[in-house]
């Protein structure tokens, strides 16, 4: 199992969480802390960059649902980018694609976040 590394990159109303390694239920502390920091800094849209995601199990996808609920409660948007075809299929399978905007690349995600 590879550790989760989450890097926060923020400018104005959009924050990018670059996720590297594995997302499992054990990633909750890191992911929620990064999200909390982004919104505390004023981000109204949070972009999850999955381009360096190596592994995600069902605990990880459950964590994304929890994060989505937290974002909806706080009035912020959650956007995904960098998804491989495999993870796009998982978003489709779990119908997360109906609740989280997906963009092909970071530029499109940032543009969507700032509109």
């Amino acid at each position: 199992m590879t550790a989760t590394v989450i890097e926060l990159d923020q400018e104005g109303p959009a924050a990018i969480l670059r996720i590297e390694g594995d997302i499992t239920s054990g990633s909750e502390g890191d992911l929620m802390a990064a999200y909390g920091l982004a919104t505390a800094n004023g981000a109204s849209a949070v972009i999850l960059d999955f381009s360096k995601l190596e592994y995600m199990n069902s605990g990880g996808i459950g964590l994304l649902v929890t994060l989505l609920v937290r974002a909806q409660r706080g009035g912020s948007r959650l956007i995904a980018t960098g998804l491989s075809e495999h993870y796009r299929q998982i978003f489709l399978l779990t119908r997360l694609d109906e609740a989280i905007e997906i963009h092909d690349d970071e530029a499109a995600a940032v543009a969507a976040a700032t509109t």
């Binding site: 381009s51 199990n57 998804l83 491989s84 299929q89 489709l92 399978l93 119908r95 997360l96 940032v110």
Partner: protein
């Protein structure tokens, strides 16, 4: 803001979890299940906690397997193989012929209250499965829009078996039933299941630890129309129509 990352391309990576997930399906099919009298799953879509109506709950129930020498992998292998036998009395799990594997569909009959003449006929799809866990997702019509993960892990010297549900009721009627006792019954169902699992895995006196967290107190009124798929109402209607069917058969 830094420049977009372009290396490596997502499509070029291989994913270690690739074989563990079900493939996306538009509509479910229960043709790989034998023994069930009612199939209320075929033709339905998967639902899951995003598409339910009621408050969102995360329930974690775990049982430390004291007295058992089984590894988490061995626990999960046995749990998958004999899943149906661990359910409490009054509930029937019609396992897929191919076993608990990603994408397989199972059917279930559950009594809403002990001794009830009405059986709720519904099902699940296996969303994810690996050596240490497996996850079910419910279809449209199920009383709960949920993901339920069954897993085992080491905690010190002990193996711990766990059920974790992320669930919300599917429609306003199910939410009412949940508030009037369905929630407690659901907890008891998984507690009894875990005790049975614990005993089967060799635990001497399995004691279940339960944690319940309400993740979202709001109700999703945009999904109130889920009632049109309700397995609960369909099952009640089926029972109420039994005398009519009986008379029709006699005439």
């Amino acid at each position: 803001m830094t420049a977009p990352t372009t290396d490596p391309r997502p499509e070029e990576r291989t994913n270690r979890d690739a074989g563990n997930w079900a493939k996306p399906v538009d509509r479910l099919s229960a043709e790989g299940v034998a023994g069930a009298k009612v199939d209320s799953v075929t033709g339905k879509r998967v639902a899951g906690p995003l598409h339910g109506f009621g408050q969102l709950w995360q329930k974690t129930l775990r049982v430390p397997l004291e007295g058992s020498a089984m590894s988490p992998q061995a626990v999960i292998a046995l749990w998958k193989e004999h899943f149906a036998t661990f359910w409490p009395k009054g509930a029937t799990f019609y396992a897929p012929l191919a076993g608990i594997a990603p994408g397989e569909v199972a059917l279930l009959d559950i009594a809403p209250v002990p001794g009830s003449p009405v059986k709720l006929s519904t099902g699940i799809m296996v969303l994810y499965a690996d050596d240490e866990s497996f996850t079910f997702i419910t279809p449209e019509g199920h009383a709960l829009s949920a993901w339920i993960t069954f897993s085992a892990h080491r905690d010190g010297d002990l193996t711990v078996a766990q059920v974790q549900a992320l669930e919300r009721t599917s429609d306003p009627f199910d939410e009412l039933a949940y508030m009037l006792g369905g929630n407690r019954m659901n907890d008891r169902f998984w507690r009894d299941t875990l005790v049975n699992v614990g005993r089967a895995m060799g635990a001497t006196d399995p004691k279940v630890i339960t944690e319940v967290v309400c993740i979202d107190k709001r109700r999703q009124w945009r999904h109130a129309s889920n009632v049109r798929n309700s397995a609960t109402l369909r099952s009640v209607g089926h029972m109420l129509a039994a005398p009519v069917r009986w008379i029709a058969r006699r005439s």
